[in-house]
Amino acid sequence: MIRLVPNQATQITRSEKVTFTFDGTPVTGHAGESLVAALMRAGYLALRNAPNDAAPRGAFCGMGLCQECTVMIDGQVVEACRTGITPGLTVERV
């Protein structure tokens, strides 16, 4: 079929795979990519529970504003969309 917008997925090369943990479970991603991207690819969309109604929430704005994708790294709340993954990174739910 003619595509005016070609599929370029195979033309992308990525860095080596690294393993980090999310809530104790090993997850693989590419070194240096955003935590949100790696978690999304691994099927982790619900990253936290909202206050008051405990409903699941995940990445939303993708630019560090909405605070929906916050996770805990080394006791500090950070935005997963603004955090790059490194080997052995320990990520927990808030």
Partner: protein, 466 residues
């Protein structure tokens, strides 16, 4: 010791980047601050370190050109830095910034704010479900990570961004289940005259639509996503014909990218005392700034989408104008450019923004049970009840219900709340200004805001009278 510059530019997108370049060309010492690792802003966001190679796109090309220009200029890029407060101290601007685990002060004689935009999403049932992301959020994911939001995605929203996002999903090998846009074909036809000034952008948009049609991706004009189903993540969604009010069959999907236009990030300008006015054709509340960025406050300039949504082309042009103006005001020689190109880009930008505006039909998607304030899980009924008991301003609703007191600071609920207040009280949106903006501009860890300190050196004043 603080780092001192002639000009500090906050935001390294097309506007801020070009402003910094113009000011540096005039011989000034310029710092260009941005939260991202490299310049580019949202529209020209750079690939992360995980991408070793990837096909070139118009956005990546433009971003690379800006980054190269900055690299080879005298501009000092300060990346991965988060400005959380700005203040005029004596005759210079003081920026409180957070970089990794450290904090620093940056000072400058003049200040250019190029704070860009954020997305508006009209709240509707299920919009807080994981797997629902903003159209702009999706573009960040594509540009930075070349990653898809899911395996089968519905793309929905107003304006041109919806077609760009659908096209990018296809380019990255994903499946677009449907494109759902509240805009009608006749709305686009009416916008055509204003778009003719930007033929390249027009041609690109036409190509996206043609590709989707060839691939038989359903494009539902005049429709909106009315509900998202799924407990832990998106499983399906309902689509509504906005003209007839009838719902179509459920569409199975694992993700939804959705957006209804952009909103200028005006908080920094507001905190610094720039007056704001309501201009729907520029995305809502915008600060008063001239085409060359000048404001009523000496040494403070605004450019780009942060002072009205006009798009990347206008932002870049306004950035150059602003950098030159700021340089002239500091006594340097810098060219004064004719405004004709900017006016053309302004016209195009306003036409696109007009297409993106939420309409009453779209606003009707917000049901009484819909979450409005995501941070505090406040529903539409909570807001309506507060207004019913007499709260008639965004400040009053915020105080009474904590709407906008969560970590996002109201960035993703205030417009919807203002709309609800206006509807209920009969006021016009122009009479429902945003709540008083408060620093920090982003959440900042307390220890980093406090900075390193010795207890004995804290400025403990004498106690209050006994």
């Amino acid at each position: 010791m603080a780092d001192h510059y002639d000009i500090a530019v906050v935001g390294a997108g097309p506007a801020g980047g070009n402003a910094a370049l113009a000011a540096a060309q005039a011989g000034l010492r310029v710092a260009l601050l941005d939260e991202q690792p490299t310049p580019g802003g949202q529209v020209w966001r750079d690939k992360s370190a995980s991408i070793l190679s990837a096909p070139v796109t118009p956005e990546s090309r433009a971003g690379a050109a800006l980054r190269k220009a900055i690299e080879t200029s005298a501009v000092t890029p300060l990346s991965q830095i988060r400005v959380w407060d700005i203040r005029l101290r004596d005759d210079h601007w003081v920026l409180q910034a957070q970089r990794a685990a450290t904090s620093q002060e940056i000072t400058s004689k003049s200040l250019i704010l190029a704070t860009g935009a954020r997305e508006y999403v009209q709240p509707f049932p299920g919009w807080t479900t994981p797997g629902v992301i903003g159209l702009a959020g999706a573009t960040a994911l594509f540009k930075q990570s070349l990653t898809l939001p899911g395996k089968r995605t519905v793309v929905s929203g107003t304006g041109p961004l919806v077609f760009y996002v659908a096209s990018e999903i296809r380019r990255l090998g994903g499946e677009v289940a449907a494109v759902v846009t509240p805009n009608t074909r006749s709305q686009w036809a009416r916008a055509l005259p204003d778009m003719l000034g930007q033929p390249k952008l027009l041609a690109r948009g036409a190509l996206w639509v043609a590709d989707l049609m060839l691939a038989r991706v359903p494009i539902l004009w005049g429709h909106a996503v009315a509900q998202v189903d799924g407990a832990e993540q998106v499983t399906a969604l309902k689509v509504r014909n906005l003209r007839t009010g009838t719902d179509g069959p459920d569409i199975a999907a694992d993700s939804l990218c959705i957006g209804h236009g952009l909103i200028p990030n005006i908080e920094a300008a507001q905190i610094l005392g720039v007056a704001v006015r309501h201009d729907p054709s520029l995305g809502g509340w915008v600060p008063d700034a001239a085409p060359d960025g000048a404001t009523a406050i000496k040494g403070l300039y605004l450019c780009g989408d942060g002072c009205g949504i006009r798009g990347a082309t206008a932002a870049g042009l306004q950035g150059s104008l602003t950098g030159a103006r700021a340089a002239r005001d500091l006594g340097r020689d810098a060219p004064t450019s004719p405004l004709a190109r900017w006016h053309k880009a302004d016209r195009f930008g306003r036409a696109m923004t007009a297409l993106s505006l939420p309409t009453p039909a779209l606003e009707a998607l917000t049901t009484r049970d819909t979450i409005i304030c995501r941070c505090e899980s406040l529903r539409c009924t909570d807001i309506i009840d507060e207004v019913a008991t007499g709260a008639a301003s965004t400040n009053a609703v915020k105080s009474g219900r904590r709407a906008g007191m969560g970590p996002c600071g109201g960035k993703y609920c205030q417009s919807a709340i203002a709309t609800l207040i206006a509807a209920q009280t009969g006021k016009s949106l122009a009479d429902v200004p945003p709540p008083t903006p408060r620093p920090p501009l982003r959440p900042v860890p307390l220890g980093q805001a406090a900075g390193a300190f010795e207890y004995d050196a804290l400025p403990i004043s004498k106690p209050a009278p006994l």
